[in-house]
């Protein structure tokens, strides 16, 4: 049949015919799939190549940041206050350390590590990522460093290195101004805006200028870029980029003056401040007792820290910013200015001091047994008559005193960014009502007039107020930084009244009978100022009458204060000295201020 003729149903021909047809279809499948793969390759390698290149580099390169050298801190005469020194350190690299216990034991044989450090290392080590280095918190001597280097063959994963670390030549003198540096805490790292603090071995400012200007000082970390394998191990170094050291920072401080002030106060607990009255520059700021800030940079031990914290004179407290004292008699010029400006009294107003005054049956004593007799304003400031100021305060009322005090800077913060600064307290009727719920008593007004009672001020505030008197009533903002240009505005006070007060302050130091007459300076330049003795305990009659301070236990003795300005005929500086439990201001604080003025007049004004 024809039908079968063309369609052979058996034999090789027919079979291979089928096979050939089927093969052709398979061929089509192959072409299609190869085309598909080729298209896919074009998509991946042409259109998405950039994306995958980035991903590949991200896999491949890891950066190992290296903290930059911290910026220098200089005083106004270019003296180095904070610099950096080479330190020998070691790091352990996780993943390279085969047996941590053995490694630490071997290290211990050479370094004699504290058990505290060993425990911390063991603890921290578990949290590390693979091949992350861990810097051991201990500095090595050159001897130890070379010994480690020669024993590296048994110390798997130990990496000795040289790092630049903060060093202070005058750690005690500058502790509270500069602060110190230390490793960032977990919170610091978590709260930071960027990952700068994750730089291994980085130190950040923890207090003072170091903290305030941390970002300026810290610089830009350098880095080494490694090629790493999938396990994270560095295979080779690709590039090394040196970091940018932090900017040097110029402070307004006068190192020699600072050292002098520290030496005068070192054996006490207290504070000294020197301000440039026109610019607000802080030439000196000392708080004693002090502590060794280098210890913090190098990793302080718990023992050393405890010693500092347990000291009852509180070395860590910044006494010129965060200690608050009743200002005592140094408030009197403020009360006087308030009275003059409010026209309660004038220059010629007089009052008779009989040694005490009486109010509703309660007696208020003058420090001078028997009284000062008839005194005017000038005499009252010069001789620091309490009774005169009781009377002035009574006439004024506490609210007006508080208003003037606040206008001058009491009761507010002055150094932005210094978290430790305290506000002090300027009491008034509203404040008392709000905090205690009780009404203000007139007796409280009287003792406020001599800077006792609720009134609290920091040495910084006292010094600013003195500076503002001395510059003729211009508001200044204290600053640690040189070239810190700021707007200076006239305060709303009568210039004549300020002159009256400056004259009285001059008299208090340079005229017979003045409270700080014993500390006066002879020579071309003179200073003037107000002493203050702020009571720690409530006044008792016998204390008043006997004034036998030295017999009392330390913690019950009065704080000694002095706040002054100089030179008298062309004021440039304001100085405030506070000595805790130092006794009378005239005895303890004024001589310290006097020697600082002496230095300034002889070394800075005469030579300049």
């Amino acid at each position: 049949m024809k039908l079968f003729k063309n369609q052979p149903s058996q034999g090789i021909q027919s079979k291979s015919g089928i096979i050939n047809r089927r093969k052709a279809i398979l061929g089509t499948i192959k072409y299609t799939f190869f085309g598909l793969i080729a298209t896919r390759l074009v998509w991946l390698q042409l259109f998405q190549s950039r994306k995958y290149s980035i991903l590949s580099d991200r896999n491949r390169f890891k950066e190992w940041k290296i903290a930059a050298e911290r910026g220098l801190i200089l005083d106004r005469y270019q003296n180095k206050l904070a610099e950096n020194r080479q330190l020998y350190k070691i790091a352990l690299i996780k993943g390279d350390v085969t047996d941590l216990d053995f490694t630490l034991k071997s290290l211990n044989n050479i370094l004699h590590l504290d058990s505290e450090i060993i425990e911390k290392t063991k603890n921290d080590f578990t949290k590390l990522r693979q091949f992350q280095p861990y810097v051991i918190n201990r500095n090595l001597t050159w001897g130890e460093f070379s010994k480690i280097n020669s024993n590296l063959f048994i110390l798997n994963g130990v990496q000795p290195f040289i790092s630049m670390e903060r060093h202070y030549d005058y750690p005690y003198e500058l502790a509270h101004v500069l602060g110190y540096v230390g490793a960032p805490t977990e919170d610091d790292v978590a709260n930071a805006v960027d990952d700068l603090y994750r730089t291994p071995g980085i130190k950040i400012g923890k207090l003072g200028i170091e903290k305030d200007e941390n970002r300026e000082l810290i610089g830009v970390p350098g880095f080494t870029r490694f090629e790493v394998n999938a396990a994270g191990r560095a295979v080779r170094t690709v590039e090394f980029v040196e970091g940018k050291p932090g900017n040097p920072l110029k402070l307004a401080l006068d190192l020699d003056l600072q050292k002098l002030a520290y030496s005068k106060l070192a054996s006490h607990a207290g504070a000294a401040l020197v301000l440039d009255i026109k610019t607000g520059e802080i030439l000196t700021a000392v708080s004693t007792p002090s502590f060794d800030t280098n210890l913090f940079a190098f990793g302080i031990s718990q023992n050393q820290l405890n010693n500092i914290l347990r000291n009852e004179r509180k070395p860590m407290v910044n006494k010129f910013l965060s200690a608050q004292y009743p200002p005592g008699s140094v408030i009197k010029p403020v009360v006087a200015l308030c009275a003059l400006d409010n026209k309660i009294i004038d220059e010629d107003f007089t009052h008779v001091c009989s040694g005490k005054t009486e109010l509703y049956g309660q007696e208020f004593y003058c420090w001078k047994k028997g009284g000062h007799g008839k005194v005017n304003l000038r005499e009252a400031i010069k001789r620091s008559c309490d009774v005169f100021f009781y009377e002035v305060a009574r006439l004024l009322g506490v609210d007006r005193i508080a208003e003037t005090a606040r206008k001058l800077g009491y009761g507010s913060l002055h150094l932005k960014d210094f978290d430790e600064e305290k506000k002090g307290l300027v009491p008034d009727t509203k404040w008392k009502k709000n905090t205690t719920g009780k009404p203000w008593l007139l007796g409280e007004t009287l003792i406020t007039g001599i800077g006792q009672g609720y009134f609290l001020a920091t040495p910084m505030q006292i010094c600013i107020v003195m500076a503002q008197f001395a510059n003729g009533g211009y508001q200044i903002n204290p600053t640690f930084y040189l070239d810190d240009k700021q707007k200076i505005s006239k305060l709303d006070f009568d210039s004549d009244h300020i002159k009256i007060i400056l004259d009285a302050l001059n008299a208090a130091t340079n005229e017979q009978g003045g409270t700080s007459f014993a500390s006066r300076l002879s020579g071309n330049f003179k200073f003037g100022g107000k002493t203050g003795t702020s009571q720690v305990t409530t006044i008792s009659v016998s204390d008043r009458e006997e004034s036998t301070m030295n017999n009392k236990a330390y913690q019950f003795r009065d704080h000694a204060l002095f706040s002054g300005f100089g030179p008298v005929n062309d004021p440039k500086y304001a100085i405030t000295v506070v000595i805790e439990h130092g006794g009378a201001g005239s005895v303890a604080a004024a001589p310290v201020a006097s020697s600082l003025f002496d230095f300034l007049f002889k070394k800075r004004l005469t030579n300049a």
Partner: protein
């Protein structure tokens, strides 16, 4: 069926080697060389993997030549023996096999590990080729031939699937289906099988091992969970993609050299190749593979007997399946199944199987006679 096979004129070994198809041998040698260079680059010149591969390739090439100059009649005659021997080994491997990655796949011969499941790809083609060679064309779609071929396929397929080795099982099935297609099994049967497979996909999925299920799931959630189960494919794709048009240059690839790509010597070797030689290199490699497949098909076209024809076409299809599944997997088009890239991937048995296949193809050309 004429049972008497004509033997070719006796020629010396040298003469026979000389008259082999040069172009196919050249292509295989080029791929072998690329493979050794590629492995050398992955290890940045260290280690001995590339040397081991060179050794294995040389050994396999020697086998290729030996098979190529042996009359293909040998394979025709011993197809069943080879098949049943293979089944036997697959059986006993259950008890003496060396376990690798949770699967019993290896038979330890000291220096050489043999993966009998790989050999099964070859034996299934041979046995089916012989079987259908002997089936008359009008009987191809009879129940008898369908039943026999199904049994022949299912035994090795299930044994390998049980190991478990999904990749190889799929390739065995693929090779077998290739033969069935070529010999002219009714299209309707294929279509109904595809329909049945699609309908029973949920059941198949339920029967998969957990890690296999995960791979399939991952394939459908491509870029999620980059450090998890999908890591392999993502890293491989990064390798391929970062190569760009011209590649990073020889010895300059990082993805495999730094071990970001897992299985970088074996299943994912293409990633490194494409990273270093770029789109141009990858397309060139595709072209080489395509040339080989084309060459095998052409040999099949020229064959005078159906056994050789079936073998060549089926082997070409099997070889194609390797490449398609492997490249599909490395470029993220297919889920990850453990299928090596022929010749390029490091690994003994797959290389050996493919070289044996080439040998038979060459032999089919050399001894192009009617059986």
């Amino acid at each position: 069926m004429p049972e008497k096979l004509k033997t070719s004129k006796a020629r010396s070994v040298f003469e026979r080697v000389q008259s082999l198809d040069r172009s196919l041998i050249q292509l295989v040698l080029i791929l072998g060389a690329l493979s050794v260079f590629c492995l050398y680059s992955i290890d940045k010149g260290q280690g001995s993997t590339y040397l081991k591969h060179l050794l294995r390739f040389s050994f396999a090439f020697f086998i290729l030549l030996a098979i190529a100059i042996t009359n293909i009649e040998f394979w025709y005659r011993y197809s069943y023996h080879f098949y049943f021997l293979n089944l036997f080994i697959l059986f006993i491997i259950k008890f003496i096999g060396v376990s690798a990655k949770g699967a019993q796949r290896w038979l330890d011969f000291g220096v050489f590990h043999i993966q009998p499941s790989e050999l099964a790809k070859l034996s299934i083609i041979l046995v089916l080729a012989k079987f259908f060679n002997s089936v008359k064309v009008e009987n191809v779609n009879k129940i008898y031939s369908l039943l026999v071929s199904t049994i022949l396929i299912l035994i090795p397929f299930l044994l390998v699937l049980k190991q478990p080795d999904l990749g190889t099982a799929i390739l065995i099935l693929g090779a077998a289906v290739g033969v069935l297609w070529i010999v002219g099994i009714n299209r309707k049967i294929f279509i109904s099988c595809v329909v049945i497979v699609i309908l029973s996909l949920p059941l198949i999925f339920a029967g998969l091992k957990t890690y296999q299920k995960q791979r399939v799931l991952n394939f459908f959630n491509a870029e999620k969970d980059p450090l998890g189960k999908n890591y392999q494919v993502i890293q491989a794709k990064i390798g391929v993609g970062s190569g760009g048009i011209f590649g990073k240059g020889y010895m300059k690839g990082s993805q495999s050299a730094l071990n970001f790509v897992p299985e970088n010597h074996t299943d994912f070797v293409f990633s490194h190749f494409a990273e270093e030689f770029g789109l141009l290199g990858a397309i060139l490699l595709l072209w080489l593979f395509f040339k080989i497949i084309k060459k095998i098909t052409v040999v099949g076209d020229q064959c005078h007997n159906n056994f050789s024809k079936i073998f060549c076409y089926a082997f070409a299809f099997n070889f194609f399946l390797y490449i398609a599944i492997n490249l599909g997997m490395v470029t993220g088009l297919l889920p990850v199944v453990g299928v090596p890239l022929p010749i390029l991937s490091y690994g003994g048995t797959a290389l050996l199987t493919n070289m044996m296949g080439f040998g038979i193809v060459l032999s089919a050309k050399l001894y192009n006679e009617h059986f």
